[in-house]
């Protein structure tokens, strides 16, 4: 029976792997490595205000002092001297799709981004390498006062003070080595502000494409959902595969104000030469709610643990995630939550699939502070092993500092049960269909949390084809 499990094949990623040649005429590429000179050049390129230039230099200093964590996947093969921190098209950001350069446009057309915008999005941002190439928000959403723009415009435009107030306050450069690197060389990303009481009915989406070989992408996403407002933000990521390492060290900072709600969905499908060392964090105030939906399919190596700080009383978070670790992948993912306010609640539910030598690690932390009376948390992590050459590990940690908390945790590791396959076969399904159905069922708690078209994309990503025994 176990041999049949090998019939679960790798994801078909041909559409993501199409490479577009970047020539010198159309693209500007910063020399490789991370030095003070390079940081100054990036700052100059981006016409940073003084405070941002100083911030970058300070972050670089911190980066040089900090060490890599000793607890995660190995990053020895990531040679930082061979990574270019900044690659951009010589074309400016466009507000109309037809003005985007042809080759870049083709890439996004293949990925279905404009189609999604037409059909189901309130606004779209598309980043190609280090800069946004397209940003647009529907008129009716803009009319509600919703701001959705690229970070660079926000930094120098009318929201400059707001950016200054919030930028890297939630994820300070001292947080870890790659947060510091991000602070030094960040480029691109989106700024979103949803005014008080505004409910954005359909999602906003940013799509990040890293096309250049040996490059890093360091986009910064800053979202402020003001009191009583409601937003669903979707983030998609992909890159073609190269033989050299690429690096993604983005940073997402989310501020969810009193009684607001933010849902942040991610479908991450970086190529398998990508080191995805991304940091995401949300600060949730009184009565507010943060929802994370996360699908991790790509990358060579991932460190990804969206963190939620439940600061306000009665604030809540929910994290639903799936990770698929295939051949050559070491995906270390999970979630972190800190309960600070009273009557806060968190629900973490994750699924992990390991196959063909992939390493899938679920890692989490739940901290309930002394003041967080009546806090409730429930953590559930399930791992599915599809063969005996892979790894599936779960390493959850909890630190509870009050007796007035209700903590539940459960973890399971197992295989596709022969009994379940037998049962489905006895109902007329072929063995491969039975296995596919079981794996789909396993992933269902995540896909059902996504809008239909993204659930379809996710299901395509985990296109688990079954061959006959």
């Amino acid at each position: 029976m176990s041999d049949n499990n090998k019939s679960v094949v790798d994801i078909d990623r041909s559409v993501y792997d199409i490479k577009d040649v970047e020539n010198e005429q159309d693209f500007y590429r910063m020399e490789d490595g991370f030095t003070e000179d390079i940081v100054r050049k990036i700052s100059e390129e981006k016409h940073d205000p003084d405070w941002m230039r100083e911030f970058r230099l300070k972050s670089l200093e911190i980066y040089n002092k900090l060490e890599m964590p000793d607890w995660g996947p190995d990053t020895d093969e990531l040679d930082m001297n061979l990574i270019s921190s900044y690659v951009r098209s010589k074309s400016d950001m466009k507000g109309k799709w037809e003005d985007v350069p042809e080759d870049i446009k083709n890439t996004f057309e293949r990925l279905g981004i404009p189609e999604a915008e037409r059909e189901s999005l309130a606004g779209v941002g598309a980043q190609y390498d280090s800069e946004l190439v397209y940003h647009n928000v529907k008129d009716e959403v803009a009319a509600q006062g919703v701001i959705y723009t690229d970070m660079e415009s926000a930094l120098t435009g009318e929201y400059a003070d707001m950016v200054h107030e919030y930028f890297m306050k939630l994820v300070p450069p001292t947080d870890h080595k790659y947060a510091a690197l991000h602070g030094a060389v960040w480029s691109g990303g989106s700024f979103v502000y949803v005014p008080k009481g505004v409910k954005v009915d359909i999602p906003l989406q940013s799509y990040f494409r890293l096309n250049a070989a040996g490059a890093g992408q360091f986009e910064h996403t800053l979202i402020i959902v003001d009191e009583g407002a409601d937003l669903h933000f979707i983030e998609g990521c992909s890159a073609p595969k190269y033989n050299v390492a690429n690096l993604h060290a983005g940073c997402v900072e989310l501020f969810v104000k009193k009684n607001a709600r933010l849902r942040y969905s991610t479908i991450e499908n970086w190529s398998k030469n990508m080191y995805n060392l991304n940091t995401k964090r949300a600060l949730v105030e009184e009565g507010a709610r943060m929802e994370w939906v996360s699908g991790s399919f790509g990358s060579h190596t991932s460190y990804l643990y969206p963190m939620t700080i439940l600061k306000g009383d009665h604030s809540a978070m929910e994290y639903t995630g799936i990770t698929f670790a295939g051949k050559g992948q070491n995906l270390d993912t999970g979630a972190k939550v800190v309960h600070q306010g009273e009557y806060t609640s968190s629900l973490i539910s994750t699924k992990s699939i390991s196959k063909s030598g992939g390493i899938g690690t679920y890692r989490s932390s739940v901290i309930i502070n002394k003041e967080a009376k009546h806090a409730k948390t429930s953590v559930s992590c399930d791992s599915l092993m599809l063969d005996s050459i892979s790894r599936a590990d779960t390493i959850p940690g909890m630190d509870i500092r009050t007796n007035d908390a209700d903590v539940g945790h459960e973890a399971k590791i197992g295989r596709i049960s022969d009994e379940a396959v037998f049962y489905l076969m006895s109902r007329g399904l072929s063995e491969e269909d039975a296995r596919a159905m079981i794996v789909s069922g396993f992933a269902n708690p995540v896909s059902k949390e996504l809008p239909l078209e993204y659930a379809v994309e996710m299901n395509n990503l985990i296109k688990l084809e079954m061959s006959g025994g």
């Binding site: 176990s2 499990n5 964590p69 000793d70 607890w71 995660g72 996947p73 190995d74 070491n330 270390d332 972190k336 390493i359 690690t361 890692r363 932390s365 002394k370 791992s383 092993m385 599809l386 063969d387 005996s388 050459i389 892979s390 790894r391 599936a392 590990d393 779960t394 390493i395 959850p396 940690g397 909890m398 630190d399 509870i400 500092r401 009050t402 007796n403 007035d404 908390a405 209700d406 903590v407 539940g408 945790h409 459960e410 973890a411 399971k412 590791i413 197992g414 295989r415």
Partner: protein, 387 residues
């Protein structure tokens, strides 16, 4: 002697801010009393007790089984943050790790060997009692060897006067040969001014079984580690730990079921109560190694928090490099449920009494498994006294 021992390494490291990757025992002004393991009052027939064993003898005793362990390792990459190399030098992998071995060697602590002869199922327990006097700094070291198809029960008790100062560190290593069974019971009822560590490491060959019951009820600071390697097919490890920490007591533990053989079973239960400003760190790992097809593992933790000032850290880990296994972990941490309290109060039991009842019920659910009625009564008395 002054030193700091790094012990209880989590098999796979995690975030540093959780402060759970390992623990440190600070040893100050440590004038160790090198003593033999207290000789049991009764040594049942088919059991031998030797106090003149060297560490070299122990290495030889475990040579064959260690060769089998080495032959089963197939060089797959370990988990992210793998710490296994830190304890590579140990003759028998223990929960607390190599620095306890080093301490024992450095202090020339004599090793006692308790052996159950082949084919004998010894019903009468071997009882070893450490009674600490004020100012005693004691280290002890035993190996329990159950030969093929034998069974042995060893009960180890640690007592002192309530006001005694001191230190007691004990390492117990276990070898259960094919078809053998070792029942190890440890009951710690030391005074609160005593620092204590309890390090256990065991190996099970085919169809062998190690059962441990661990009750930690006293001592100011306690470290406990237990690692059992289920080497042989169909081998079993069952553990039941009960602990009660109050005032400023702390308990730092690290349990590992290392499942290597086919169809192995591990079942670890931890039931504890934290009162006042007590602090506890629990690390529990089910480690399904490649080749452990058909194995199952379960760890369940149930912690009752009865004060707003307690600190509870829990890191339940499952590591898995084998497809055909079933591993589970469950944890329930919190205060007495409203329903339970309401039920008690509706029967005329006030909240304080209800809490005491629940504490005793939890501790006694573990204590009742001990095959020594007199000891169970002493445990009940001890709990009643301290509450």
């Amino acid at each position: 002697m002054n030193s700091v021992l790094k012990v209880n390494h989590l098999p796979a490291l995690t975030y540093r801010f959780l402060k759970s990757n390992d623990s440190e025992i600070e040893i100050k002004d440590f004038n160790v009393k090198v003593v033999n393991t207290p000789e049991p009052e009764n040594i049942p027939s088919a059991v031998t007790f030797k106090n003149d064993v060297t560490e070299k003898d122990i290495t030889e005793l475990f040579a064959d089984i260690n060769e089998k362990i080495a032959s089963k390792r197939i060089g797959l990459p370990g988990p992210n943050g793998d710490t296994s190399l830190l304890n590579e030098s140990q003759t028998v992998k223990t929960g607390m790790g190599a620095e306890i071995d080093n301490l024992m060697k450095e202090m020339n602590v004599p090793v006692s060997l308790i052996t159950a002869e082949e084919g004998y199922k010894v019903e009468e327990p071997v009882v070893i009692s450490y009674a600490l006097n004020d100012g005693d700094y004691v280290l002890g070291n035993q190996v329990i060897h159950a030969k093929k198809n034998s069974e042995i029960t060893v009960i180890m008790e640690y007592d002192s006067e309530a006001e005694s100062n001191g230190f007691l560190g004990v390492q117990t290593r276990l070898l259960a040969e094919e078809g053998a069974k070792i029942n190890l019971v440890k009951v710690q009822m030391l005074g609160e001014k005593i620092t204590h560590f309890e390090d256990i490491g065991g190996v099970c060959d085919t169809d062998a079984d190690i059962e441990t019951i661990n009750m930690q009820l006293g001592a100011g600071k306690t470290w406990g580690g237990c690692r059992v390697t289920l080497l042989g097919d169909s081998s079993v490890f069952n553990n039941h730990t009960g602990y009660l920490c109050r005032h400023k007591q702390s308990y730092d533990m690290n349990y590992v079921a290392d499942q290597m053989g086919k169809k192995t079973q591990s079942n670890m239960v931890f039931r504890g109560v934290l009162l006042d400003e007590a602090e506890k760190t629990f690390r529990g790992t089910l480690d399904f190694k490649s080749g452990s097809a058909g194995s199952v593992g379960d760890e369940q933790e149930d912690t009752l928090l009865l004060s707003p000032d307690v600190i509870n850290r829990t890191v339940p880990v499952i590591l898995c490099e084998e497809e055909d296994v079933d591993g589970r972990h469950g944890a329930s941490i919190g205060q007495l449920g409203d329903d339970t309290l309401f039920y008690m109060e509706s029967r005329g039991i006030d909240e304080e009494t209800a809490k005491k009842l629940m504490i005793r019920a939890r501790m006694e659910s573990i204590a009742r498994m001990i095959p020594d009625e007199a000891l169970i009564i002493r445990i009940q008395q001890f709990i009643r006294t301290i509450l």
